[in-house]
Amino acid sequence: MSQAVDEIKIGGLGASRKRVEDSRFIRGKGNYTDDIVLPGMLHMEILRSPLAHARIKSIDASKAWDVPGVHLVLTGEMMATRNLAWMPTLSYDTQAVLATDKVRFQGQEVACVIADDPYIAKDACEAIVVDYEPLPAIVSPAQAVADGAPVIRDDKENQPDNVIYDWEVGDRAGTDRAFEQADVVSRLKLHYPRSHPSPIECCGSIADFNRATSKLTVYMTTQAPHIIRAAVAMVAELPEHMIRIISPDIGGGFGNKVPVYPGYVCSILASILLERPVKWIEDKSGNLISTGFARDIYLDGEMALRKDGKILGVRMHCDADHGAFFSDAQPSKFKIGLLHSAFAAYDIPAAHLTARGTYSNKAPGGVAYRCSFRVTEAMFFQERMVQAAADDLGMDQAAFRRLNFVRDDQFPHRTPFGFLLDSGQYGKCLDVGLRAIDYDNFREQQREARERGRLLGLGISTMTEPLGAGNSREYDILGIKMFDSADLKVHMTGKAIVRTGARGQGQGHETTWAQIVAHELGIPAEDVVVEEGDTDTAPFGMGTYASRSTPVAGAAVAMVARKIRAKARKLAAHLLEVSEEDIEWELGRFYVRSAPDRGVTIQECAIAAYSNMPDGMEPGLENTAYYDPPNLTWPFAVYIVTVEVDPQTGVWDVLKVAAVDDCGVRINPMIVEGQIMGGLTEAYAMSNMQFITFDADGNCVGSNYMDYLLPTAWETPGFELHSEVVTPCPHHPIGAKGIGECAAVGGPAAFVNAVIDALSGTGVRNIDMPLLPDRVWEALTYHRDVSGAPPVRSDD
């Protein structure tokens, strides 16, 4: 007699199961790209431009060819003869692989050397002589559109200036009417500085072209192997079935490892030419100055308010600096990602957004750095604007938000920009957050401290965001629809393997996908192995970024398990000798409705699928599901931060961080909390220290970890997490919502709002991130806003 299994005991939904992948990582037995060594493998290094904008007069590589141990030197001219000097970007632009006519940002790829070892390749790069004619550099949208600005993309026809697009969304006329009715109009202008996802592992690839089989295998650091396969097929004009992309363990991605980079393309071409494996491993400076950056936009907006606190409408304008090539990785329908998700958490009748994108002499990229396509900028502006509006009205920060939240009974709720919010309990989350921070008491402490000259501040950020692209109706990249997939094979002995089109980089898919199978089938999670990242074995999918794995690939895992269960039910009916209609399911077991003691386990069904299937049934217990989500998932979060600002120095210390995340059903609470803490750290980083800027000549300040400050264990604050509120996603098969990035998206505004709150009474409305001590000190001392990209040292 069989019995239903205990879900938590088998590591099912809700179990804080220890991670499967840790077993190899804690032993130093991970398999990252740089760990792979192939017979006869050569090494590639890239020569990069020292100048931000310059015409290339000549490249003399002859001395590089003379260095012993050098096998190949690639230049733009050689790439051009194979039609590979330029490649398409993910945003319908073109990007130089190796520069031919001009260099357009500091760090741009100019030449490659392939040699016996990386030391020789670096030596030979130094032997290449490039003669540059420097050109004026453009480092901001304002410079890009100024009269007489040099045209960066003179390689393109019909590109007379530096403007990439002018785009708008929302209801202009309706918004104008809302502003006419306003009692108060609140304004805010800010800059979200350029940042870089900066995983500790840099990018790299090993291309292995086998002339005998015509097969190209590429091991590489990619979050989206199937997209890469399609891109390689297009760019290198190789047949897609002869391309195998393998994404081994990835040492962090955060969006940085979504795009196609010139280094990948050059290693592939070099392997084809040399018929040997060619490894390229980027160094940190190369990673920071040339690969996918994030943010770098200027936002200017206003809010129409009734004097009782009701928001009537919002207007925003965005100037986005995309760098030298428009290569944002984002759904093609939207020019500035999902920036128009701003203000989604609030019930606002009218909204209008305009955006202008421009080129500059900065690295291209525009990746979703721990965010879902520009939602980080959207939520930051939203929560900074909301704080400014409440202050302008003289209203309490919490009360103003509560008054304008989308109410529980309004879901599904259509935002003025057209998104459909699925579910949420915003007020309840705010209650939990205010209790956690002891709101009323803190306000009292703040008043008392102020009397003694101490500056305490409290910042709130409340937000929802759209996670889990598609649906395929609206979301595609280069025309490829954004769905995802899972393939599940249940073996004869009831053990199983699941493969998905996603590719984790630390999110713990090997642990959590098995939990979903356990939840759906009752097979213990430890009996399910998870494999991702090999395009020859994984079903087609769009990869892992923008918090889409659980909403899309995770849903596909549940759906394929249900297909398996449907077949197992037929097998159970056969084994129990009853009709299928008489069969009931409980976790891990089918039984006869009228005789619950008579049952068979899922494992017994698995054996039958291979050894005792009914007449006419196709053997085996394997299937594949493609999941096209009906909508995005909308988690909600409340982040509340308290700080103390030192009026003498402008240094601010974090007193407490409370985070309330409602991300629906949590598959593995331990992993979810890990993700939230990682995101909060990014939020703290962004608000406090982490940014990339440029001097007037386009030199990147932030090209190494001495200049590009990442928080360490020493300065990173502790976090208090709350998971009391759970609103299951109504359209996701197991009720889960995206979570990986919420804290990085919503967190920064909580930190900044707290510092601005500490400065209340000084008239300071804005200090742009990062809130470095000198900027806070300047605001405090001179009672003025400190805005714009942080200034950099100059030689004047």
Binding site: K18, R19, E21, D22, S23, R24, F25, I26, R27, G28, K29, G30, Y32, D34, D35, V37, P68, G69, H71, D116, Y119, S198, P199, I200, E201, C202, D249, I250, G251, G252, G253, F254, D283, K284, Q505, G506, Q507, G508, M670, I671, E673, G674, Q675, M677, G678, G679, L680, T681, E682, N704, Y705, M706, L710, T712, A713, W714, T716, G718, F719
Partner: protein, 173 residues
Amino acid sequence: MTMVYADRGDDAEQIPVRRIKFTINGDKKIAEVEPRLLLSHLIRQGVGLTGTHMGCDTTNCGACTVLVDGKAVKSCTMLAVQADGREIETVEGLAGQSELHPLQEGFREEHGLQCGFCTPGMMMAAKALLARNPDPTEEEIRWALSGNLCRCTGYQNIVKSVLWAADKLRSEG
């Protein structure tokens, strides 16, 4: 082992090599290395122990942290020739034949890792800390690990992992 180069018909300058002896995870080794070879490359490519990762090449990230004569060292900033006559310990030397080191257990129990790339360096830096301070406070752990960057976890669980290991090591005596 040897390197084979293409014969280009000229007298290519000989690359100087030096012979060094060192111990790694208890095994005695001899190597012939270019004087400019980094210790991290000797460990990864020379010895073939790839658990020591390279993140930044500039002594900032700490992913390549190993122990040299018991002290935590960032192996990308030490030359292989400087390891002559010394004892090196890497992440591969942490576990015994059958059981994990308490630090390895601690990182798994307290979810102290996500992508796993910084983990070996974190554990080696923590090992050096616990050798000199078996009962560290949270603050002392945060300070001792401040040369090691992690982009995934936010450190809170790393600190817990080290506390977990310190507890276990003390109870084992």
